[in-house]
């Protein structure tokens, strides 16, 4: 440290002032960059702060510096230790000096270099100085700067040094003090490094100059004590040591460093953090001191095993360690650093070249996500949370799915009802398609399909399978002279129906009107034109609200008007204008007309519809339907296959139009799921639309399980239950929930009352009115257990409450009773404690446990109601075991 004497010190009380001590001692003032006047020169410390020079003075002969913590002083008051043994107080800036301390001087009896000075931080008037060795003088001197100068203070500041102040204490006769520093654990206690081999702790409250603690160690230089604690750190040639001031016999920890540390500081704002700077290093090393607290007191309270562990732990002393990491501050070799006295983890670093830099030590910040999408992180001693507004900026699928789940998305009885809830065009289109395909299958339009929701590919068989479409030249109703080749077959008809077009103008006309009503006149016009009704197309465009579309109708007019010689002109204009049209349907319409109406006389030719088919902004169903009308078998098959592989590779949801909900559709859904993360729609589609065979698919089961877990985590059990119901109805029935079996014969009690089959809700208990009063096992006629409170058998009505028909515990623990519906019967339900297995009528038990914690069965001391954590409200009730074995955990429950 004394080599080139470059050091930096924060003022302990002025949070925006620090000094740099080199050739000169310079006082800096820190301010935010925008607060510094433009003209003044400043040193930039960080991106937001700069420092301006306030004052400077020569530092010749100065061996050590410390800044006092006297609060009343407007500017940092410095104590300078000189090579001559003098200690002077100075304020670099000539300002108001309320205490009259500036300029005071303290002199050792014999001149020798003063190596270290230290102001006490709490008793701010105490100043300690460590001196070099002198055989007949003490090496540590203490002054009380205020009481010494009291007399002169009243008379004015004329002769502050007229009479040399006498030290209030002198320590270490004939020794050398390399560093002195005040301890944080007790007032008026000093720790000093002495004679290159000792660390000594002096308690000034004791009389005499004997050290209250001494340690002899190689790493004994620069001893510093942590601000509030017993630990002392010291450094040496081979590293640093941490000591416990109460037990200096041996170091708590040795922290070896590759190079000798030059400076060692405890972080003032964080416990356990020791910062060291090694010689010629460009990094600071942070030592996070970890200690196992001595815990002999706890030993007796812990179990036997842990006591054994502690014995082991003590055998392996020292029980402590440090997590070390190096932080590079500014790339250049560092000369000194200082911790800001109050701001968390703020350091000021001085490089060997004299550059100043501010640095903030980044503490480990731990983020964590909650199931509902909350993000919390811990940093800087506080927990912080992400504002919910984040999701309005960034629509993440987790948030979208939760919002949808709250609207019972996917669970509505009719498939098309879910379309609007999706609030997503592709998804709502898919739900509409599924509703359509379902109705087609149910109406018998599509038969022989292995799937409940076939797709176009399933309906259109490949030409190799021996079907041929019939090509027909169709007249254009509005252009009698023209003919267009169309193809038709039963398969194509079904495919068209799947696309929502239907065959012929009768069914297509409705589609046109619908498209117009939806506010897409271009699509309506294109649909009409694809069905060769040019007049209808023109009418639609003419009715359009946007004037641009009415203008577009102009382009159609010439061809409708049985073009003559100027047709070529029109065709060229069309080729130029079509790409500029904003709407894909308008473009497709014009391309179609250009391709379908050959310029020359009608002759057998194959028009080139690729411009229409490649208009990818058109809806997929329209493109496919168009292909189904105008493409011959081979080309159609090829087109559909090509579309399928393209969509499949992109993970597009539209691929399901081609595949339907089938084995390959599951593959397409999987691709889409991996792309979008929307497991909700995948699981719901599977639960609603997949048959038993598909529901056994491992991927589908994975979706369902994942979505169930999500709904559980969101506490949307009702939605989860409906999902299970749909999946069970779809044939992928998983085991029901818990049931009650007879103790004696082992048969389920509830199953005897055969409820009428209700497909969608098979897992619900039969309506209570249909249930017989059963107080004994329907199979073996042995009595059912008794209620612990009223001593009546299970199955009898609850006395005192409304005469609720007793329902044996139905196998629906997964089903939260809807308020007002099942509540009426719930009183009579049987419930039991999972620990002692005593039980009773739910109403009785609730009443009992509102006043008691113990089981109502006498001689049972089970604290049933205290077994469960507080939040889930229903207190579990004890009961005789209704089943010999505890009922199997419901597979569908919480899965």
């Amino acid at each position: 440290m004394s080599g080139n004497k470059l050091d930096v010190l924060w003022s302990p009380i002025h949070h925006d002032k620090f000094i740099v001590w080199g050739q000169d001692i310079t006082l800096y003032d820190v301010a935010r960059l925008q607060d510094i006047e433009k003209k003044s020169t400043y040193t930039q410390l960080s991106s937001s702060r700069g420092a301006t020079v306030v004052a400077s003075q020569s530092a010749s002969g100065v061996r050590c510096v410390d800044i006092s913590s006297i609060v009343d002083h407007p500017d940092p008051l410095l104590a300078l230790g000189h090579a001559s043994g003098r200690v002077t107080l100075t304020s670099l800036k000539q300002t108001y000096d309320p205490l009259g301390l500036v300029g005071r001087e303290f002199v050792a009896r014999y001149p020798r270099p003063c190596i270290s000075v230290a102001w006490n931080r709490t008793e701010t008037n105490l100043l300690a100085a460590g001196m070099d060795k002198h055989r007949s003088d003490h090496c540590i001197l203490l002054w009380d700067v205020q009481s010494c100068g009291l007399d002169e203070f009243d008379e004015g500041l004329s002769h502050p040094v007229s009479e040399p102040a006498r030290p209030i204490a002198e320590l270490g006769m004939g020794e050398t003090a390399h560093s002195v520093s005040w301890c944080g654990f007790a007032p008026r206690t000093l720790v000093a490094s002495m004679n290159l081999k000792h660390i000594k702790i002096f308690d000034l409250r004791e009389s005499g100059d004997k050290a209250s603690g001494t340690a002899t160690h190689r790493q004994c230089l620069g001893a510093v004590c942590e601000a509030a604690g017993w630990r002392v750190a010291s450094r040496g040639d081979a590293g640093a040591c941490v000591w416990d001031a109460r037990a200096l016999a041996r170091p708590l920890l040795a922290l070896p460093t590759p190079r000798p540390p030059r400076r060692l500081l405890w972080c003032p704002t964080r416990r356990n953090l020791l910062i060291s700077l090694q010689r010629d290093s460009s990094t600071l090393r942070l030592h996070d001191i970890q200690q196992v607290q001595e815990s002999k007191l706890h030993q007796s309270m812990d179990s036997v095993t842990s006591a054994a562990a502690l014995e082991e732990a003590e055998a392996e002393a020292p029980a402590g360690g440090a997590l070390e990491r190096d932080v590079a501050v500014c790339g250049a070799p560092l000369a000194a650093f200082a911790c800001h006295p109050a701001h968390r983890a703020r350091l000021l670093v001085l490089s060997a070249a004299g550059a100043l830099c501010e640095y903030t030590v980044a503490e480990r910040v731990t983020p964590a996500w909650g199931a509902g999408g909350e993000l919390a992180w811990a940093g800087g001693g506080a927990l912080r949370r992400m504002p919910p507004a984040f999701y309005s900026h960034e629509r993440d699928i987790s948030h979208v799915m939760r919002a949808r789940a709250l609207t019972e998305y996917g669970l509505k009885p009719d498939l098309w009802q879910n379309a609007d809830l999706a609030e997503d065009e592709a998804l709502s289109g898919l739900w509409h398609f599924l509703a359509l395909s379902k109705s087609l299958v149910e109406d018998g339009c599509i038969r022989n399909s292995p799937w409940k929701h076939p797709g176009v590919r399933a309906v259109l068989r490949s030409p190799g399978e021996g079907y041929r479409s019939e090509a027909a030249a169709t007249l254009l109703p509005d252009l009698p002279s023209r003919k267009v080749t169309t193809y038709r077959s039963a398969e194509r008809t079904r495919a068209l129906q799947l696309c929502g077009w239907g065959w012929g103008w009768d069914s297509a006309g409705a589609g046109v009107e619908r498209a117009e009503a939806e506010g897409t006149p271009c699509r309506a016009a294109a649909l009409a034109a694809f069905h060769l009704r040019l007049r209808a197309a023109l009418d639609v465009l003419a009715r359009a609200r946007a004037p641009a579309l009415r203008v577009a109708a102009l382009a159609l007019a010439p061809c409708a008007g049985a073009g003559a010689a100027d047709e070529r002109l029109w065709r060229e204009a069309l080729a130029a204008a079509a790409p500029a049209l904003p709407d894909p349907y308008l473009r497709a319409l014009l391309h179609f007309l250009a391709a379908a109406l050959p310029p020359s006389a009608p002759q057998p030719h194959q028009p080139d519809y690729s411009a229409v088919l490649n208009e990818t902004e058109m809806r997929l169903e329209d493109r496919v339907a168009f292909a189904c009308i105008y493409l011959p078998d081979g080309a159609l098959h090829e087109y559909v296959s090509q579309l399928w592989s393209g969509l499949r590779a992109r993970g597009s949801l539209a691929a399901l139009l081609l595949s339907g909900v089938s084995a390959e559709g599951v593959g397409a859904l999987q691709c889409w799921l991996e792309r979008s993360g929307d497991v909700q729609s995948a699981a719901l589609l599977a639960a609603r639309c997949a048959g038993p065979e598909l529901l056994r698919d491992e991927r589908v089961r994975g979706w369902l399980a994942a979505y169930r877990a999500l709904l559980d985590a969101w506490r949307l059990w009702w939605a989860r239950c409906l999902l299970d119901t749909w999946a069970a109805a779809g044939g992928g029935g998983e085991g029901a929930g818990a049931g009650v079996a007879c103790t004696y014969c082992g048969k389920p009690v509830a199953a005897a009352a055969t409820a009428r089959p209700r497909p969608a809700f098979a897992r619900l208990p039969p309506p209570a009115a249909k249930m017989k009063q059963i107080s004994s096992c329907p199979n073996c006629r042995k009595p059912l257990p008794r209620c612990g409170v009223c001593s009546l058998h299970l199955g009898t009505a609850v006395a005192g409450g409304p005469p609720a028909p007793p329902a044996p515990p139905p196998p629906a623990p997964a089903l939260p009773p809807a308020p007002g519906v099942a509540g009426a019967h719930f009183d009579g339900w049987f419930s039991w404690c999972v620990a002692c297995r005593h039980g009773g009528h739910a109403a009785h038990l609730l009443q009992w446990f509102s006043e008691h914690t113990e089981c109502p069965v006498s001689s049972c001391t089970c604290r049933c109601s205290a077994l469960d954590p507080p939040d889930p409200p229903p207190a579990p009730a004890p009961n005789d075991p209704p089943a010999p074995a505890p009922p199997a955990l419901p597979a569908a429950d919480k899965s």
């Binding site: 701010t124 095993t305 731990t366 999408g373 912080r384």
Partner: protein
């Protein structure tokens, strides 16, 4: 634009955690309604939502004799159970119980009791995680000396009894681990663990020989083989060679592959795709996975501390040396992008600077100019 707005709003959402030292871990329970924090001050605290978006401290106790590194919740199926691990070489299982001595109005008071103390480690236990629910009540710990221990509670009603099922030595210091949360129980998805090592790279070993380079791999995948009843290392991710501070598997929402986020020098997102049985059979048993680094973000300066996935595995939060929490989102297939930055801003920490130590003696001088009276 969005980032600025979110930063501003977030100011009001700070909770003073009142831990006396660095908070090492924050964990939400399964429902996101409770939160546990642990700290170097050896305390664990439990927070419950008050329903209006705030948090209420409901329990705070001294859990260990050293820094508590991690805290984790068990699935609620097993009760309200926490596991913690600490520098004091132990991991502990905590269960919330009613105060059995209280009755009547005090019935609501709850305490956490230590059900078990796992003392097998000889060094600091660096991470603890409960296994996926379908495997039963499993707990895995790892320690600084590189031993992974898998415990099982054979009786889920008795949390005091944990049997050490497997002990896997790794020979490198392990800092973190993560279960593969895959829900499926089929053969193609055996129980899987990813562990990360924070062993510093030996300078001499790098770059000299290829076999030495192999030692620099920091992330390992372990899988449980039902037939041999052993955990075996089936994969070393060769793409990660810097010390790893944290890693996390994304919740697998029906994906056919696994996503692993690794906090090392950068934030890495690694896709681990199980190869079909047939192809792995042709390659021999060596290759089980195809791994691909989907993203490596270096915005956190030189060091990333933690990574965390949201419930759907579509948002990744990471924290690092730049004092920021950053969010990353999957945009299109395999494309990841930063979507938000939350500064752990210095401004608020300045305003909460602790009051000065009380002075035992100050001399009250006459105050000539009130403006010179600094900082009171």
């Amino acid at each position: 634009m969005g980032e600025l707005a979110t930063n501003n709003i977030f100011e009001s959402q700070t909770i003073v955690a009142d831990h006396k030292d660095l908070i090492h871990d924050v964990a939400y329970d399964f429902y996101g309604e409770r939160m546990a924090t642990c700290s170097s001050d050896q305390y664990v605290k439990v927070w419950d939502t008050d329903g209006q978006g705030g948090w209420r401290l409901t329990a705070s106790w001294k859990a260990h004799h050293g820094s508590v590194w991690k805290v984790t919740w068990a699935h609620p199926e097993f009760g309200q159970v926490l596991a913690t691990c600490s520098f004091d070489r132990t991991a502990a299982i905590w269960e919330e119980v009613g105060d059995t001595t209280a009755s009547g109005s005090e019935k609501g008071l709850r305490t956490w009791v230590k059900r078990s103390n796992l003392v097998d480690s000889r060094t600091s236990v660096t991470d603890v995680k409960f296994g996926p629910k379908h495997l039963g009540l499993l707990l895995v710990t790892c320690s600084a000396d590189g031993i992974i221990r898998i415990y099982e509670a054979p009786d889920v009603m008795n949390l005091a009894q944990w049997t050490l099922q497997h002990e896997i030595p790794t020979k490198v210091s392990i800092s973190c681990l993560s279960w593969n949360p895959s829900l499926s129980r089929s053969n193609s998805n055996p129980p899987m663990l990813a562990v990360g090592s924070d062993e510093p790279n030996n300078v001499n070993a790098t770059g000299t020989q290829s076999d030495k380079v192999a030692n620099n791999e920091k992330v390992f995948i372990y899988e449980y083989s039902e037939s041999s009843r052993r955990w075996t290392r089936t994969e070393c991710l060769s793409s990660v060679v810097e010390p790893v501070n944290d890693l996390a598997f994304a919740p697998n929402l029906g994906r056919s592959f696994h996503l692993l986020a690794v906090a090392t020098k950068d934030v890495r997102i690694i896709k681990i795709e199980p190869l079909p049985e047939s192809s792995s059979a042709t390659n021999g048993s060596a290759v089980r996975f195809k791994t691909e680094v989907l993203a490596a973000f270096e915005q956190h300066n030189s060091c990333v501390w933690r990574v965390a996935w949201n419930v759907t595995g579509t948002l990744l939060a990471s924290s690092g040396d730049d004092c920021c929490v950053r969010l990353w989102k999957m945009q299109y297939m395999n494309q990841w992008k930063g979507v938000a930055v939350f500064k752990n801003d210095a401004a608020s920490s300045e305003s909460t600077a602790p009051a000065r130590a009380h002075t035992t003696y100050t001399r009250l001088a006459a105050m000539a100019n009130p403006a010179h009276m600094p900082y009171h």
